[in-house]
Assembly symmetry: C2
Homo-oligomer: 372 residues x 2
Amino acid sequence: MSEVHAARRSRLRAHCAKEAGGAAALVSRPANVRYLAGRAPAGAVLLVPPSGGDVLFGHWNPAADPAGPRPGEEDGGLRAEPLPDGADPAAAAAVLAAERGAGTVALEEHHLTVARHRALTAQAPGLALGDLGCAVERQRLVKDEEEIAALRVAAEITDRALGELLESILVGRTERHLALELERRLVDHGADGPAFPTSVATGSHSGLAGHRPTDRRVEEGDFLTVRLGARFRGYRCQIGRTFVIGTSPADWQIELYEVVFAAQRAAREALAPGVEYRAVDRAARQVLDEAGHGGALGPVTGHGVGLEIGEDPRLSPGAMGRLGPCVPVTVEPGVHLPGRGGVRIDDTLVVRSTADGGPELLTITTKELLAL
Amino acid sequence: MSEVHAARRSRLRAHCAKEAGGAAALVSRPANVRYLAGRAPAGAVLLVPPSGGDVLFGHWNPAADPAGPRPGEEDGGLRAEPLPDGADPAAAAAVLAAERGAGTVALEEHHLTVARHRALTAQAPGLALGDLGCAVERQRLVKDEEEIAALRVAAEITDRALGELLESILVGRTERHLALELERRLVDHGADGPAFPTSVATGSHSGLAGHRPTDRRVEEGDFLTVRLGARFRGYRCQIGRTFVIGTSPADWQIELYEVVFAAQRAAREALAPGVEYRAVDRAARQVLDEAGHGGALGPVTGHGVGLEIGEDPRLSPGAMGRLGPCVPVTVEPGVHLPGRGGVRIDDTLVVRSTADGGPELLTITTKELLAL
């Protein structure tokens, strides 16, 4: 893996040479550090100077996972530098950059706090500081095949955990218990852990976007919405499904399900390289608008996934930009009717050209309305 | 509860009048917002102007927990102000402060990022910005009886979850499964969730401070270290115990356990109002030093707990300050012998004067060396 990370750092170096006047990059945002250096201790900071000799500064814990760079070692052009207790890795990186005569250091102003920025300025007073902005996040947008393979495994684990739950008896169990059981099954099947807190919503809670599981029990006639995802080698996927509990769904349930399903399909089918982010959102929104549920859709129809669960792009009405190939996104419209419940259907897909077979669906659990 | 929060905000207002020239306080750190305003949506920001009329800015989610201020409502001198999608609550707070003619706004420079600070300056250009520093964290140091009651419940839940685990068969089960089971039991007994990721370490992993559970199975003769805690109404406690698996511990296990137990007891007994933080640390460190294990102790012997798991004070050799009454802290020394394993014993206690009965032990599970 160290070659992969070295190649990513070379791309960042090339970006800094072109866009930031040859500044050294100081990367502090955890997902960005992991992307460029592999697994690193919490709070580690990466210095990527214009001429190479990259250094990862951090506080290693002997109990941490043995993967990733080891303190004091050098691998693939990256040295791992352990720091004394209490030292800020960002300040240590700035001091080294100043010692090496760097003209400017570009740091992640959207991650560093004002207080750390100030302390860093005091410790390396001669150094000019610039803003790296979201250069690493932009680099992370398009995934390589190794990243997509990790997402694929995450989705397989997720489908399996959900499939097992569907075979068990659900009536009478609480949202909280079902959520815990799903998270246990994710880990059983090899996940590092859940990609985000599992949401289980039944009855009047169903269809709510950010529902936290409560002690409400599943009852006959309920809609049941579950939303979960596995994290595998750091990569996070997301699935959401809505079921109906009992022998036969009510008419309003069938109608609402069909509308949300049609909106979700429209957005999935809109996914292609070159398509505007907001066009994907519009595809789902239009279907819901026509059915009189436009107001019920939240601000986004989907978002990128990878080392974080909510990455760029945002598939929303105001989003600027166009999809590229190998960008994994969620498509997750939903409608909640206050007091009654609702439907959410979420998938994780990878954008692919028609020549490559069109969008690749990672979360393959059926989207038929199952009565459980 | 809203009177409690209003009283806390009044104390902050008095602090700003005295120490910050009557600046309005802009509080953004999540635990600080919760302390001063009750449950608030993720990312909410609180404005506490010198003359009252406090406002909580945020993005409410209809699915969030119904406790805490409701958007658009006013309660106990606090108005909850919902924002349009994409608006930064900190910038909205700054704009309102400027409109109301605030001279200076003191914000949490240790929490706000450089980029947010810059955007806020651009949106409220006339406003003078100062640093609130850790004023709210200092206010949170000493707990009121309601906070201690929540910690007491958290500790009861934690003791019960651990007690149940000890009644089950442990040999052959993996660290990962034991950790998941403990977390499930915490929730079963009424926790909001775990206070921090549960650590289970067996055999050569035992005694490591930040061990993440692996697929290693518990074996006869192992030391088994577990470290867990419940979160109840936002308040987090911590317990750590080490057991030996099988009928009779080896001599080295008994010796090591006795040393760590003596160090832990020395630090517990040192807890009293007026005692220096570092004196508590020294009490434990001295026992370990004399037994030749001084180097094995990490940088801290314990830390404060409350709305966060690692709060002030830090009980470490370099810490400045003295304990006050009603400050809950952990006492958690440990020794790990590489390749063999080790012992950790963690308790959560509340500092009390001798007249009040001395330190109040919240985590009451036995600290005898149990052979399971």
